[in-house]
Symmetry: C2
Subunit: 471 residues, 2 copies
């Protein structure tokens, strides 16, 4: 089937391709207040699947969900000095409520550390109350001057975890557990995304944290995207909010804390990591529709067959949708499913019926083959797993092939100018080098230990900095 290009090709204009894809695949629209977005059902379906999977992983750590208010008294923000400095420029402020000017303005939460800690200080009394492990799924608002759908929006959806522990070690280990066993496992095994796990430099750390762990992915244009972060907060907020517990030994001790978040930005990452010039490609384990069964024409025998195939695939545990909207031309529907990135299309027309086959179109590797209808339910689960693995492989290959090992700041800048990542010894870069990178629009995405692990300190010998331009 010859096709006119539906999207601006990536090579011509990557940002425009991204915007095109999001609109045409019906993932989201721009909202009326600058920087906000409307997440349409197909886009929101991706988020729901992400939530389901991550929520189960979060609960496995013993964390419980709760809900804290959207509106926070402005005075709260000043309690932790670094924190307020980090967020002040991004705040949305409610000055009027119920027809009157408020005595104290309220800010719309940009994150919930302040308000969570106010309650933690009431709820934590004894060592018996620890660890206190709380997560919330919520919306937050950070005023965004250069908005881009999913990647930087004034309002976004996320989960934010907040925990309090008796010791430094326990908090450190918990932040690391979320980083690896919730975030990295989910991104690699469900989103089929290659991610680099590392530690942020002091310059890039979360406002108020003593350590920030990050996951960085390489997008289709070679830029980096921060996919999630897990912070050790040390005792900074505990001091500000007097969050203490009576230890077994009868002493008042400050708690050690973590916070960690991942957002609807992951949908943008999905697009930029797996999308191609025909649209999105959704990893099968994430897809709300793994297989769509299309009736090419509206005759009775074809309609009966697509429904029968739909039932058989559902019985085989596949998430399937039957597309029998034959008052819309087949070609238009096929392009639409391609744009939306449904992994497998099973197409059935009158000629296929005669042959006892259906045309199976695979979105991820591409290509079409006739397959005997009787074997579809047996064959497709394996196909989906193959495609899941292929996406992860492709994203990993992209990063490996576009990352250079360098030794000077100039070479690092050159690598990022050429649309790739650079690895440079942290000793050869340092905070000064970071300033130089910033002048060239690049930054240290994370630090890695010599063996590729997450380092325990910024200045551990052998640390390597991963440098890139970032979204």
């Amino acid at each position: 089937m010859a096709k006119a290009p539906v999207l601006t090709p990536r090579a011509d204009d990557f940002p425009r391709w991204y915007q095109d894809l999001i609109t045409k695949a019906e993932l989201a629209d721009n909202g009326p207040v600058r920087g906000t977005m409307v997440i349409r059902p197909y886009g929101y379906g991706l988020w729901e699947r992400m939530q389901q999977d991550m929520d189960a992983r979060i609960k496995e750590t013993g964390t419980q969900n709760a809900y804290f208010p959207l509106l926070i008294p402005q005075s709260y923000l000043t309690k932790e000095a670094d924190h307020v400095e980090g967020f002040a420029p991004e705040l949305a402020v409610v000055t009027h409520g119920g027809g009157k000017e408020l005595e104290e303005p309220a800010v719309v939460r940009p994150t919930s550390e302040m308000i969570v800690n106010d309650y933690f200080s009431k709820w934590v009394q004894s060592y018996r109350d620890l660890p206190l492990l709380i997560n919330q799924w919520a919306n937050v608002v950070r005023w965004e001057l250069r908005p881009r759908l999913f990647l930087r929006t004034t309002e976004f959806l996320w989960q934010e975890g907040h925990t309090a522990h008796a010791t430094y070690e326990e908090a450190r280990d918990f932040a690391a557990r979320i980083h690896r066993h919730v975030y990295a496992d989910f991104m690699e095994n469900v989103l089929a995304m290659d991610v680099v796990l590392g530690r942020k430099t002091a310059k890039e750390r979360f406002a108020g944290a003593i350590n920030t762990l990050t996951l960085e992915g390489m997008m289709g244009d070679g830029k980096a995207l921060q996919m999630g972060t897990s912070h050790e907060l040390g005792q900074n907020f505990a001091k500000a909010f007097h969050t203490q517990y009576l230890s077994k030994e009868g002493k008042q001790e400050l708690v050690w804390q973590t916070s960690w978040g991942s957002t609807t930005r992951m949908i943008g990452a999905l697009v930029m990591m797996h999308g191609d010039d025909d649209g999105l490609r959704v990893p099968p384990r994430l897809a709300q529709v793994q297989v769509v069964v299309l009736a090419i024409k509206g005759d009775e025998a074809v309609l009966a067959k697509v429904r029968e195939i739909g039932d058989a695939l559902k019985a085989a545990g596949i998430r399937v949708q039957v597309d029998d909207r034959t008052d819309t031309p087949f070609g238009r529907r096929a392009v639409d499913w391609e744009l939306k990135g449904v992994p497998v299309r099973v197409e059935v027309g009158p000629r296929d019926l005669e042959a006892g086959t259906a045309m199976v179109a695979r979105r991820i590797p591409g290509g079409k083959t006739p397959v005997a209808v009787d074997t579809l339910a047996a064959v497709l689960p394996g196909v989906l797993e193959e495609d899941q693995a292929l996406l992860l492989h492709q994203s990993r290959e992209r990063r490996l092939s576009r990352t250079s090992d360098v030794t000077t700041v100039a070479e690092a800048v050159e690598a990022t100018d050429a649309g790739g990542w650079a690895r440079i010894p942290w000793a050869a870069l340092g905070p000064e080098g970071e300033e130089t990178l910033a002048e060239h629009g690049a930054s240290v995405r994370c630090l890695l230990a010599e063996d590729g692990a997450v380092p325990d300190a910024d200045d551990a010998p052998g640390n390597v900095a991963v440098v890139a331009r970032a979204y």
Copy 2:
């Protein structure tokens, strides 16, 4: 076990009992901005279970979830005249964003009709795009002058459905389907709540609707609580937003719409409908913990036994939690589970071990009996179903026994003054009678047809008004 009262008894001070219960059962705390609340894990767990169940029911109607922005340009609100009049006094207004005064202030959504309709008018082009069935789970803000946890809070969580249809009949039937098959079925079969399904009078209708269907429950003090509403919006918003479609016949037609919502208020209803002087009683089908297995003492054999029982009950499909926190006194833990309303406690101490039994305490009917450990997994599923039915029966009995049939407005007022509901012919009450009721703090909760069904019009002959004081 003799107990000092943990809560203010309901008969002494119902509102205080309510507040006490919510605090001591750790359902929620007041938030720092007046009228807001922090929903604690145990309270949020109830909401999560409600969401799961309702979300599946909503999806069965073909409705898909989406997400619309929190912030709405102030000018949008003026588009539908009744609507803006209804909501203007409750708005929270953002005047500053990103450190600057905004050119146009934004309101925090009090509901999303305005913004949803703006997008519906873009998405709906042809009859092929209908029906358009959208739901969102979100937070909304309505400035609340007399806040009460869960019942009236400045911010609350809810689902709001918004649909567009080709014909009046289809929209009317959809609103009715949500009313009965999503809301009423859920409330009766999962929340074990007796609800009366009726139609609001013109005075009590949603701002902008042509008909509002409601579900009203009687609380423990005889007052009414509106538990959910489903609105026919007619073409009011379609006209305001020019939401039209090209019909099969090639004509531009305005759509017909519905909207419908249910909120975290249902948690307040759960407390006030099923709670008693010892705390909450959670219906087993809703409970995140249906059975808690308590170790009375911390000796090895007891701890091994409670874990073994926990595993056996889990294998029997029961949602079970093992409480082996034996560094907290048993009595305190038992009172805590009672407050939280977990339907069944299985208590195991050294003496029970010898006898091969466990003490089974049933929260809903009350009482304790020793049960052979080997039979627990076989016996408890039946016990839980019995208790589910008992709660619904009790709430229905309460309403029936406290509702009087009357013929004059004065008698209706008298019945509500005495802590009950009145049923009065609508012909004997009418809009004038409604004004009289309002002077006495009562209102028409809904209209019913002569046979108890939902009437098609306010003035259908034989209509009966249900009158009560309401939350």
